[in-house]
């Protein structure tokens, strides 16, 4: 569900009322890049009434691809004091978990590699620079080195799970050839995640766009689970990895929630539940979020129907088999 960032305790109450299990959260440190060096625009929507995006797009401070290719993220933004960083992350986790005691509050990092490049350069300049793959790899490596510092700090905290976010592909798939991902990006994910996994943290990978073709690579890199958008081919992935990996997603599409009929919403829930049944666990999430323009009655229908059907045994439908919350599929 998007929004509610400043809603304080009401947001926590909402999470409880909707029986949410996982809070999607990332934290890239106490000081934003914009205060440390040059940044452009990640392109995140800032919703106002009626769902319009009214953020102020920033101008890219890099005028030529050459400037991007000479960029080093560690030099530009610097590495924060490690001890202070660990303390900051630990506090943010503990505060977040205390505010939402009935949800899993993970650690997380947003600008892992590609998203870091988007934040620094914006897509236009990033893509122009990426035409020189060899030198662009060095730029991405510098973002990786910066991220590694933060991942090491997160590994020292008491989090149980970690969301690694990186918008590495587009809706149409990879923006450069798949070999580049396999040679440059995924081995670096593996090194980043090894730090967390060695410390006993579970790593959930999250990216916008369609990365169906890379799921095996993400597993190779060490992800314990995936957070999906509706562009992903959910069924084959759940069939292959649903028993061994955490799946956060569903066939329910926010466009259906916004404009679809109840039958259509119900069909998407049913098809996901069918997929989820053989899995030891499954986290139901609406791809692309439940956005601000989803009619309330559709959102309520979605949740009510889901809650009535997420139990494994139909005979126990509605029963609270495990404490107050029942046993979800």
């Amino acid at each position: 569900v998007t929004g509610g960032r400043n809603a304080g305790h009401r947001s926590a109450d909402f999470c409880d009322a909707w029986e949410m299990d996982l809070v999607w959260v990332t934290n890239d440190g106490p000081v934003g890049w914009e205060k440390r060096g040059r940044v452009t625009d990640m392109g995140h929507a800032e919703y106002v009434e009626h769902g319009a995006d009214k953020r102020q797009p920033k101008t890219c401070p890099f005028r030529e691809p050459e400037e991007v290719l000479a960029f080093d993220a560690v030099q530009e933004y610097g590495l924060p004091d490690f001890g202070q960083l660990v303390a900051f992350y630990e506090k943010s986790y503990r505060d977040g978990q205390a505010a939402r005691p009935r949800q899993v509050v993970p650690g997380g990092y947003y600008k892992t590699i590609v998203s870091g490049a988007i934040e620094a350069f914006g897509w236009d300049m990033l893509l122009l620079a990426a035409a020189d793959r060899e030198r662009f790899e060095k730029v991405l490596d510098s973002i990786f080195r910066l991220s590694l510092h933060h991942f090491r700090a997160w590994a020292k905290t008491s989090i149980k799970a970690f969301i690694c976010h990186d918008d590495m592909v587009w809706a149409g798939g990879p923006f450069v050839e798949p070999d580049f991902y396999r040679r440059v990006i995924f081995p670096r994910y593996r090194r980043l995640w090894a730090v967390l996994k060695d410390a006993g943290k579970k790593v959930l990978f999250c990216s916008d766009g369609d990365w169906s073709m890379f799921v095996d690579d993400i597993v190779w890199a060490g992800a314990d689970g995936f957070i999906f958008e509706p562009l992903m081919a959910l069924e084959p992935i759940v069939r292959k990895y649903g028993r061994s990996h955490v799946i956060v997603g569903s066939n329910v599409d926010c466009r259906t929630l916004t404009w679809g009929t109840r039958d259509e919403i119900q069909a998407q829930i049913d098809s996901t539940l069918k997929l989820a049944l053989p899995c030891p666990g499954f986290m139901f999430a609406v791809g692309n979020h439940i956005a601000v323009n989803v009619p309330l009655e559709n959102a309520l229908f979605y949740f009510d129907y889901l809650r009535r059907h997420w139990h494994r045994n139909d005979g126990e439908k509605g029963k609270r088999a495990k404490g107050k919350r029942g046993r979800k599929a």
């Binding site: 809706a171 149409g172 923006f175 692309n288």
Partner: protein
Amino acid sequence: MGRAGSLRFNDAPPGTRLAAARAGSDWRRRRSVGAKELLEQIKEAVINGKRKDSAALCQQGLAQNAPAADMLNLGLLEGMQEVGRRFRAGEFYIPEVLVAARAMNAGLEVLKPELAKNPPKKLGRVVLGTVMGDLHDIGKNLVGIMLTGSGFDVVDLGIDVSPAKFSEAAVSNKACAVAMSALLTTTMVNMKDVIGELRKSGFKGKVIIGGAPVTQEFADKVGATRLAWTRCTCASRRDWRTPNTATTPLSSVT
């Protein structure tokens, strides 16, 4: 010059072939080998994204009295057509398209003063923009690049464009098509308002919609002529002639 030795017109935009052939025939007759080489070099400079080379070669062509229309249609635009083909074939990716477009534009800047004296015929004019409330324009920009590279005149209205502005621009520019995109599910609904406004104004051209959340079903529902555009399909002339062909939504930043 015999047929076997003539320049290839196969991939040049159809509306521009005749003008290019007429304007450049003397030059090509006089300097057949050099002309062909120069046009090939311009084309290669675009394909390889060599901005400085593209500008220098166009400058060289002008110094040799080569028709600007030839260099545009048979050099720069042919280069972009090849880039589009390789992109659709998965041989090129988005960075290659962008650097090629920069190379094309660098050559175009050199040719502009000459082209202004005798403007080449375009395939048509397309009005382009993101719908009101939506600021995501990388996909829209790519579409503009490929439309330009295919011989269309593009009027880019930018981002966050109101239905009235789309409509006014379509009418005042005598556009053959309006192309609009949205990345957000919250803003894609505004396409319907744009189409309503266009129809109210009497606009009879094609309406193309695109963006990550847009589907063929949605296109049909809002009354768009067609859903465009992935892998530059909106700029593929074959697609352009089959207006209701469903294609995958445009690759977009999400």
